[in-house]
């Protein structure tokens, strides 16, 4: 005979304001098998849990139903409480009467009625719950970091520091990400290269870190503690192990008209190239779209000058396969393309640039050696206009609905740096709002206004028109003064919104992690689990999870590392016991289940069965490996004889829930 306890939570007023909790407890008390039904203000609190534990012991409960918030929130809390009171944790069910009832309904009578039905459904299910025990599965003590920006580098260094092997997969020829392109960094204005390149070198020299540059993740299989990842090492037509990074090939290469990605296309590079002087690994890469040898078979200069014999025009993509216990995603961001913003004349006028292009124009290693010159005629700009929120906080299709967060600060930085170096240059910033929360951030912005006399104007830029004299007409409104302005500018800088890398979406599909509608990776809980994805064993680091500046990126990178280390420290992890199992007496060995299993968890064994006539017969039956099964249930529906069932979500349990709802 079942002895079920029901516990209804008020959640302060979150539930109690729209659901009559007393009535729910009272009604559920009459359900079959229920021996105790109580309500309490905060079930998840220490005293609330005590209430549940005491009831389990005193009433000798065989099942527990908690009517509270979503099971995604506190299922584990109550399972642990039950376990500590001696009840199998899988004999606990949650009725979600907050997210799926009190928060969405306003009428107390109907909300209470629905809460009772949800509670009744959980009671019906718990009648059929069976005690489950978790299996242990071993953890591979190696981590994979996808993306080698500052986020990926920091995560890898921290994991390596803790004594675990880490591989970084970076799609570009060098690690470093966007930070390598930035000139100086707010709020301290120290040079990005000075703080980044030592970290890049540290990563390359750490014996626990392997960097797979110019590589991509091709396939991911497995689950937490035991992922199998296929990495595609793209052909760079240079043998990484032989190349010494001397750079002679890049000097001698006759094809020098290739737009230089690292300098945002503001100057050219050769067909064989090293992205920048401090690249890690410092290895040349041939761009087959421009290399004359690869296109027409005529040239071969690089091969002739390379004394290391590293050039290999016939190199092919190679694949390596590796096992990992944890995966950290650090794929970062990119500024959006501005093709759709005709009003800012970005495509028409070379002197209209993005902020990232400006970083390169001001950088000592940039196209002009650090002197800020107009890209069109290499003259010194006397008036510069900055436009904020280009594509950020946008309602229309062209832009992004969110705030890109970093632009207010980097624009203040740009303005200040320009005024510092070129006091004769006037700087205007058009903004919607200036958003500078963060330690020492608002002080930084005020310095730009007060100390450097940057003209901050609240208002929108309506149109940017290149003029025949080489100047640029900027038409804008000053909202505070209530007037229209025309500024005769030499340069216009657009703070383009930032978006996740385009490869993030297919990667999320491979990793079976979730993304939000903007393609940023979604954390498991926005407040309490900010660096974990909802998929166990996969962690998030840096701007791939949302716009972030460097301090925040690094903080999150270390947090993700800490979570990954926490996992790698374990020798084994407890598996989800809600896995499939087959009834051998019903199974006819048809293989339907095996075909739909995405994990290869089902194999077939020959087993001896006693027949009614006492003879024995050997039959082929399905057998599920509980350490590999992830409990999706695909096999249970595919099975034609109904032999497959899923613990925790069994056919009879779900049917009972259906019946209880329809009653």
């Amino acid at each position: 005979m079942q002895r079920i306890g029901v516990f209804v939570c008020h959640c302060g007023t979150n539930i109690a304001a729209t659901v009559d909790v007393k009535a729910v407890a009272e009604a559920l008390g009459h359900e079959p098998g229920v021996v105790i039904s109580q309500e309490y203000q905060y079930m998840c609190s220490e005293s609330g849990q005590e209430l549940v534990k005491n009831a389990i012991k005193e009433q000798k409960l065989t099942g527990v139903v908690i009517c509270s918030c979503s099971p995604r929130m506190h299922e584990n809390t109550f399972r642990k409480a039950a376990a500590s009171a001696g009840l199998n944790p899988y004999l606990v069910e949650i009725a979600n009467i907050r997210e799926q009832c009190s928060w969405i309904h306003k009428d107390i009578a109907t909300a209470t009625e629905k809460a009772i039905i949800l509670g009744r459904t959980a009671v019906a299910k718990v009648h059929l719950n069976t005690p489950l025990t978790s299996m242990e599965s071993p953890v591979v003590k190696r981590a994979l970091v996808i993306g080698g920006g500052i986020a990926g580098i920091q995560t890898a260094l921290d994991i390596a520091e803790a004594g675990f092997d880490v591989d970084i997969v970076e799609k570009n020829p060098t690690i470093g990400g966007k930070m390598a392109q930035i000139d100086k960094t707010f709020p301290t204005l120290d040079c990005a290269a000075c703080i980044l390149t030592p970290k890049m070198v540290e990563a390359s020299q750490n014996e626990r870190i392997t960097i797979h540059s110019f590589s991509e993740v091709a396939d991911v299989k497995g689950f937490v503690g035991n992922f199998t990842v296929k990495i595609k090492k793209k052909a760079r037509f240079v043998d990484e192990t032989k190349c010494t990074g001397c750079g002679l090939c890049t000097e001698k290469c006759p094809m020098k008209k290739v737009p230089n990605e690292f300098n945002m296309g503001l100057d050219n590079r050769s067909a064989i190239y090293i992205p920048f002087a401090q690249a890690v690994p410092k290895v040349a890469t041939i761009d087959p779209n421009y290399c004359m040898m690869m296109k027409s078979g005529k040239c071969g200069v690089c091969s002739k000058v390379c004394s290391a014999g590293a050039i290999d025009y016939k190199q092919q993509d190679t694949f390596i396969e590796q096992q990992y216990g944890a995966i950290v995603v650090a794929t970062g961001f990119n500024p959006i393309k501005l093709d759709k913003y005709d009003e800012f004349a970005y495509n028409q006028c070379p002197d209209v640039v993005t902020s990232l292009e400006l970083e390169r124009l001001m950088n000592a290693a940039g196209p002009n050696g650090g002197t800020l010159l107009r890209p069109s005629d290499k003259s010194h700009p006397h008036t510069i206009v900055f436009v904020q929120c280009v594509g950020s906080r946008c309602d229309d299709e062209k832009g992004k609905p969110y705030c890109s967060k970093i632009c207010c600060m980097y624009t203040a930085k740009h303005a200040m740096l320009i005024r510092e170096k070129y006091p004769d240059t006037e700087v205007y910033v058009f903004y919607i709002d200036v958003r500078t929360p963060g330690k020492n951030f608002d002080e930084f912005y005020r310095r730009a206004v007060e100390q450097y006399n940057v003209h901050y104007i609240k208002g929108m830029v309506g149109k940017v028109t290149p003029k025949s004299d080489g100047k640029i007409d900027v038409q804008a409104s000053d909202l505070l003064a209530g007037e229209q302005l025309h500024i005769n500018a030499d340069m216009v800088v657009l703070a383009a919104a930032i978006e996740p890398d385009k490869t993030a979406r297919p990667l999320a599909t491979m990793l079976t992690t979730q993304m939000d509608t903007n393609d940023f990776f979604t954390e498991a809980h926005p407040k309490l689990r900010p660096v974990e994805s909802a998929t166990a064993g996969i962690f998030l680091s840096g701007a791939c999870q949302g716009p972030k500046d460097i301090p925040e990126t690094v903080a999150q990178a270390s947090a993700a590392a800490a979570k990954a280390i926490g996992l790698l420290c374990k020798n084994s992890i407890t598996c989800n016991p809600c896995v499939a199992h087959s009834d051998e007496l019903m199974c006819n060995g048809c293989s339907s289940c095996e075909k739909v299993c995405p994990y290869g968890a089902i194999t077939y064994v020959d087993k001896e069965f006693r027949m009614p006539d006492r003879s024995t017969k050997v039959r082929r039956v399905a057998s599920v490996n509980p350490a590999v099964c992830q409990g999706c249930g695909a096999c249970t529906v595919a099975c034609p004889s109904g032999a497959m069932d899923l613990s925790g979500f069994s056919n009879s349990q779900i049917m009972a829930e259906v019946d209880a709802i329809c009653k």
Binding site: S70, P71, R72, N96, R98, E99, Q100, C101, W103, I104, H105, K106, T110, A111, E113, K114, I117, L118, T121, A508, T509, T512, Q514, M515, D516, T517, T522, A534, T535, C578, V596, P598, Q630, G631, C632, G633, A634, T636, V637, A638, L646, F649, N651, I654, M655, E657, V658, D659, I661, C662, K663
Partner: protein, 146 residues
Amino acid sequence: MQVNENFEPVIVAFCCNWCSYAGADLSGTNRLNYPTNVKIIRVPCSCRVNPMFILRAFQKGADGVIICGCHPGDCHYTSGNYFTRRRITLLYSMLDFLGIERDRTRLEWVSAAEGAKFAATMQQFTEDVKALGPNRRLEDLRCRKQ
């Protein structure tokens, strides 16, 4: 067909744990209202939904059944929702054959980020089922509420 203004349909929603159930939670967190008629059953994946469960719901007097899963390509278990899609398509043709209104059963993809879509879908589905009236053809009279 006469439409009964007071008819409150019973609607069973099967939601996968990873996307749609989280989407439902999100519409709760954002206080997006949808009708109380909808009651959710949590399943690990939409592919756990045996067509038998759907028929059972109709037999027991449900007026509409909706199955929600991750968007194609985004399944937590890689391929589960593709199975769901095929199975439900087959179920549709069977229901057609039996003469059951197609609109009583629906398959929707709702991601964990789509709280608003979840609420809007449930609102719409409830209205559609309301317009169809009570499910009489599949209901087992022995299960009829008194």
